[in-house]
Symmetry: C2
Subunit: 204 residues, 2 copies
DNA sequence: CCGACATTTGACCAACTGGTCAAACTCACG
DNA sequence: CGTGAGTTTGACCAGTTGGTCAAATGTCGG
């Protein structure tokens, strides 16, 4: 394992290559389904060489998870409590959908982990994510109290956005199989905008 | 492997035990994450004994998948094209939600498989499921043409139902972590009814 | 209670996998 | 250049895993 001085040129390059390779391999096969050798090969390294940079398979995986989680939650943090409620939510939906399209591997990595009980994420979920969700709930409730969007259960609203947008990445094989030759993402953008406009339109 | 005469009492019992055990184990750990020994133990058998009933791990898994797929798609087949459109769709949503609550292992089994590219289901998806989805699309389009529900993309409508309902099973850990002490399924039933009522209400 | 067939098991194997280690090699820098 | 730290590798190991097999045991109709 490299000393923890300032990383050399080679260290930076290899660490980046490894994490990119790990994303590719882990998102396709899950943690147990992937082998260290696969990651090493995908990163252009030998197995012992890979293990010179990370002490274990587990370490690669957790490093990957924690590096990606921030990026993954960015769209949520971008919601502006002072903006127009409907437009803020619609914009959030589109950002999430765009992420599913551009970063399907990241989406599947998390999906894989959570479906299997999120053994390595449960702590983060119940602290950091929980706090972020609490904040968002407050914002949503404020908007509903002001009558600017319809009153629905704020957490289920948030879950519905995650569910609907990530579905197009996580279940891409199924979606594509059942939609060919049409492109799923084009229709999804329109569909989701309609859905949330109608559900959240202030009730007269 | 037992001869393919009519199965004996013991064969029936053991096959059933094995498939139940396989559902438990595979849905928790995925195909590669599960071991034959785990399945055998969960079924109350020794490993060689298990392999007397199924020729391989792969065979157990595919047997399980094909046995469950029918059950899994039953709620879709129950949609009555001659019924009231809004009520039919709402009832379908509630059936699917109920299945997520009662059969989360089945949901996760499929989720696991599809997230990883559905290598063992792609054929079924592109033939049987495709046909069923085509039929459903026709029914939805008929209802929309008659002006009885709002016009939206019928396939995305179907995907949205799958996505929203199965989310509560597949991502249960996350949902529960972020909702405790509230029970997710109670709120979900209300939320989803509201959502689809508003989205599908005929536009004046 | 016998014989044939069904079921179960312990011992075993080969392939795979995560990880180690000492030796070899490469690179930056004086 | 040369030297010491950083990097890479081949050989190796122990544990796990899917699967086999012959022998032992159980079951059931006659």
């Amino acid at each position: 394992m490299p000393k923890d001085r300032s990383p050399t040129r080679i260290q930076k390059r290899n660490r980046a290559n490894i994490l990119e390779a790990a994303l590719e391999v882990f998102s396709q096969n899950g943690f147990r389904g992937a082998t260290v050798d696969q990651v090493a090969t995908a990163a252009g390294l030998s197995k012992p060489n890979l293990l010179y940079y990370f002490p274990s398979k587990e370490a690669i995986f957790t490093a990957l998870l924690s590096e990606l989680l921030d990026t993954w939650l960015d769209p949520l943090r971008e919601i502006d409590p002072t903006g127009d409620p409907m437009e803020e939510i619609l914009a959030y939906v589109q950002r999430k959908l765009q992420m599913s399209q551009d970063m399907p591997r990241e989406s599947r990595l998390f999906a894989n982990e959570i479906v299997q009980g999120a053994p390595r994420m449960i702590d983060t979920l119940s602290t950091d994510l929980r706090a972020l969700v609490d904040d968002t709930e407050t914002v949503f409730l404020g908007w509903m109290d002001a009558g600017r969007i319809a009153r629905v259960h704020p957490r289920h609203l948030l879950f519905s956005i995650w569910s609907l947008t990530q579905h197009y990445a996580d279940f891409e094989v199924q979606v594509r199989t059942l939609m060919t030759p049409e492109d799923p993402f084009d229709g999804a953008a329109v569909f989701l905008e309609t859905l949330y406009r109608r559900m959240l339109a202030p009730q007269s």
